[in-house]
């Protein structure tokens, strides 16, 4: 059963002749009756960056997990250096030279970088003691060879996301990986850091490593990869070399049609202030001040974008103005009424809707039906009979309207929300908040991790709300393209403050990126 082939050892002439390091033949993977991967054939050339793109649910991650030994294929075989390989688990694949950096990092927050890297692969002395010095030397050598710089003794939780990602990559290299799989590596990174990652990837390639790269961001694919495989509904819909590909060709290969990710914004005048925040200070769970003396306003019919590198206080800002977290000090004025205390319930009663970043924890209840999910918040004032009874007939109609208008793919409103895919769940949440006659919407990362078709749809719906219903929107996002496409005005957040205010409709991505990193600000001894 277990036929694991070590990569090291002399290469025969035959192996040199065919330089595909990894070959997949007829891989199939089923979950019940659902085929996550159907007859996948893939050849990966040694020393190249091979990208796998596709919408969410296209089967990219399933395929990568099969290569990395996390999942087992139901049919088909994997050839590593031309020889058949079967992996019992991820450790098996690791030993064979395949390492994977998961989208959600697999790091222990409270352990040092060194401990995180060597865990499971410690150099052991006399069969009992861990020889950390030897490991440290090896890691330092790897870092020097591939140009990574970080302190091995810091705790992982004190490192920025980009550096945590480097730690993951070094961890994979430490385990002698020849093939490195990166699952959506840029999803967590700001613009500048993406370039850093690409530099590292290029360096890995120059040292003879092979990189498999999954993403659904097309610009990056074109920039970094040599070969691009497009997946759709579980099968490979095409393979193309990066030189020949363009965003348009890739999108149509992915979606099967051309997607309009461009919005024509009506040029409206915004003057009436509907929401004003003054002197807001917010601490996080660890009592660290995350939002410092922040003031801003939102005008009627405006989309205000708030961008920043993750961890610069946007989360706490949103939590404070939605009432999910108590602010240290500051006030909010809604339609001329000054509120000393912000509560989510009062917000809802005032018509302030909220689309949260965490769809599963805050945005829905997976065991509850779509109906129960869709009326949440709206039930406070509507869909009641004699105040104490719920009007479930009305709720069903309300939900069916959301399902139809927002194209939520489901059998019926009584199905549990847990049965929806990520994109459909998000459409349901967006539909809910947009259908509750809200006047102000606080929208956080509305398109994270969902496919292009759904992104296009949600963007258009946001614009429709603003232009047709006169709704005002605060859009907090980590996706710069999204912020630039939708916002009338962008506030760049850095270290708990707004570093810069920019006015649309045209924005310069590099300029915003610079402000996000704290650039362009008068140095205040920081």
């Amino acid at each position: 059963m277990t036929e694991v082939l070590p990569l090291c050892g002399g290469r025969t002439d035959e192996e040199k002749a065919m330089d595909y390091i990894l070959e997949l033949k007829g891989i199939c993977k089923y979950y019940g009756e659902f085929a996550a991967n159907k007859d996948i054939n893939l050849k990966i050339r040694k020393g190249t960056v091979h990208a796998v793109v596709g919408e969410n649910g296209a089967g990219k991650s399933t395929l990568m997990n099969i290569i990395a030994g996390v999942n087992k294929p139901d049919e088909g075989e994997i050839l590593l250096n031309g020889k058949r390989a079967i992996f019992r688990d991820a450790n098996d694949a690791n030993r064979a030279g395949i390492g994977m950096v998961q989208q959600e990092f697999m790091l222990f927050d409270r352990l040092s970088v060194l401990d995180n890297i060597i865990i499971g692969y410690e150099s052991v002395e006399k069969g009992l003691f861990i020889n950390k010095r030897e490991s440290e030397e090896r890691i330092k050598a790897i870092c020097a060879e591939y140009g990574f710089h970080f302190d091995l003794h810091t705790l992982v939780r004190d490192l920025p996301i980009a550096v945590q990602q480097q730690v993951e990559i070094v961890k994979v290299l430490y385990r002698n990986a020849e093939i490195i799989i990166l699952d959506e590596p840029t999803a967590v990174l700001p613009y500048q850091e993406v370039q850093g990652l690409f530099k590292a990837i290029r360096y890995l390639i120059s040292q003879g490593k092979t990189v498999l790269f999954i993403t659904h961001k097309l610009k990056e694919v074109l920039e970094i990869s040599d070969t691009i495989t497009v997946m759709k509904n579980g099968y490979v819909s095409g393979e193309i070399s990066a030189q020949e590909a363009s965003e348009v060709t890739l999108t149509s290969m992915m979606v099967g049609r051309e997607v309009m990710l461009h919005l024509d914004k009506a040029n409206l005048e915004h003057d009436k202030v509907v929401l004003q925040v003054e002197g807001l200070n917010v601490r996080d769970d660890r009592k660290i001040m995350r939002v410092r003396d922040l003031s801003f306003n939102l005008k009627k019919g405006e989309i205000l974008g708030i961008v920043g590198v993750s961890g610069n206080g946007q989360n706490e800002l949103v939590e404070a103005i939605t009432g999910m977290r108590k602010a240290e000090s500051g006030s909010m004025t809604v339609n001329g009424e000054r509120l000393e205390k912000i509560s989510i319930r009062d917000n809802r009663l005032r018509g302030i809707g909220y689309i949260p970043q965490d769809r599963l924890r805050f945005g829905s209840s997976d065991q509850s039906s779509l109906i129960e999910n869709c009326i949440m918040g709206y039930h406070l004032k509507h869909l009641q009979k004699k105040r104490i009874l719920m009007d479930y007939d009305g709720a069903t109609k309300f939900t069916e309207k959301i399902i139809a208008e927002y194209k939520v793919k489901t059998r019926s409103g009584s199905d549990p929300a847990g049965s929806l895919s990520g994109g459909n769940l998000q459409k349901m949440i967006v539909g809910r908040e947009f259908s509750q006659k809200n006047k102000i919407l606080i929208i956080e990362d509305p398109t994270r991790g969902i496919d292009i078709g759904a992104i296009e749809f949600i963007w258009h719906e946001i614009q429709k709300q603003v232009e047709e219903e006169g709704v005002s929107v605060i859009l907090v996002t980590y996706d710069l393209t999204e912020a630039m496409t939708l916002s009338d005005r962008i506030l760049v957040m850095y270290d708990g403050r707004f570093n810069r205010e920019l006015h649309g409709p045209e924005y310069d991505e590099k300029e915003i990126g610079l402000y996000m990193m704290g650039g362009g600000v008068d140095e205040k001894g920081a």
Binding site: I344, S365, H379, L389, M390
Partner: protein, 352 residues
């Protein structure tokens, strides 16, 4: 289609659990040197075999129905009220005192005693609720510990009330018997089954209506399924948590009160035969569905009645039945389908 399948899965789960429980019981009975078939026969006869058997089933179902309702109210909203037993004690003690000392016609004294019991159960739930809300102390621990305090404390109150000394025979520690007027009507005289059974059924229906049709029921259900989402939706957490907890305590208090006004007629320490825990187990078996809890509670009462009769008629000990009931609860919490699946597929990837 999917819904039909999930109901079928649930039924399958119950059947497998029953078969496993009976199997374990049979083995234990054989080890004790008795005939399992004979024991089961006596159990069935003891539950439904005669008028007295049916009365006994109703008598033992009653407290379980009500305490299960108390458990459903708490657990449906994710509150672990393990203090139902203690709340029953306070409800029972208070109702016994009111019933024994307030003079008047039954239509006044009985409701008064029941309400007093409910209020006492409610009060005894205030402490863990407040500890949880203000200091985030786990209610699972506080309610559990407060059960022991309740048993001791009501015993102390009884001794104080009756002027008893510490050298009193434990069996003598009891409140005075409540007068004829304050007793619940027996529905099948001379047996102990009383109108409390109907009160239990009414409670089950009320709780069913609460969750099925009312706004507050919707909110409470949603709190239990995802309290962060409920908060996000503008549902007041603090207020609702307190109300749910206290309501659960009040229903438990009613359970204790009716137990005194019906069969017991006086408060005696250790009068409760674990009925609070039975309620929690029934709610667990019924997956917090109020109607299902009512039905399971009746079955629970029948098993209890049957086991009492079995103990009289055969040499099998009643404790065995309690043991098998507990095993049944254990089995029911297992998801057999997924266990079989895991076996056949092996390690399944967690891909979402």
């Amino acid at each position: 289609m999917k819904k039909g399948r999930s109901i079928a899965d649930a039924v399958l789960n119950y059947l497998i659990s029953i078969v496993l429980a009976i199997l374990v019981a049979s083995i234990l009975i054989i080890i004790q040197g008795s005939n399992p078939l004979e024991a089961f026969k006596e159990m069935v006869l003891g539950a439904v075999g005669s008028k007295s058997a049916i009365a006994s089933s109703i008598r033992w179902s009653t407290p379980v129905i009500i305490s299960a309702t108390a458990a459903v109210i708490a657990q449906k909203s994710g509150i672990n009220n393990l203090g139902i037993e203690g709340q029953i004690y306070f409800g029972a003690f208070t109702a016994a005192v009111v019933g024994a000392y307030v003079q008047g016609p039954g239509v006044i004294v009985i409701p008064l005693a029941v309400l007093a019991g409910a209020f006492a159960g409610l009060l005894y739930a205030v402490l863990p609720a407040v500890l949880k809300l203000y200091w985030n102390i786990d209610e699972m621990i506080t309610t559990l510990m407060l059960n022991y305090a309740a048993i001791q404390f009501t015993e102390y109150l009884t001794m104080m009330l009756m002027g008893l000394g510490s050298d009193t025979n434990p069996d003598m520690i009891a409140t005075p018997e409540i007068p004829e007027a304050a007793r619940l009507t027996q529905i099948m005289p001379p047996y102990q089954a009383s109108t409390a059974f109907f009160i239990g059924i009414v409670l089950v229906i009320l709780v069913f209506i609460l969750y099925r049709y009312t706004r507050i029921g919707y909110e409470w259900k949603m709190i239990g399924r995802n309290k962060d989402f409920a908060r996000y939706g503008g549902i007041r957490h603090f207020k609702n948590y307190l109300v749910i907890f206290l309501l659960s305590g009040a229903v438990a208090g009613v359970c204790g009160a009716l137990e005194i006004l019906g069969p017991h007629l006086r408060f005696r320490t250790n009068f409760s035969t674990n009925m609070g825990w039975d309620g929690i187990m029934v709610a667990l078996v019924a997956r917090n569905n109020p109607i299902a809890a009512g039905i399971v509670a009746i079955v629970w009462g029948m098993i209890k009645a049957g086991s009492l009769s079995m103990e009289r008629m055969t040499s099998v000990n009643r404790i065995l039945v309690t043991l098998v009931q507990a095993l049944f609860v254990l089995f029911i919490t297992l998801d057999f389908k997924s266990i079989f699946k895991k076996r056949s597929i092996g390690r399944k990837g967690r891909n979402r």
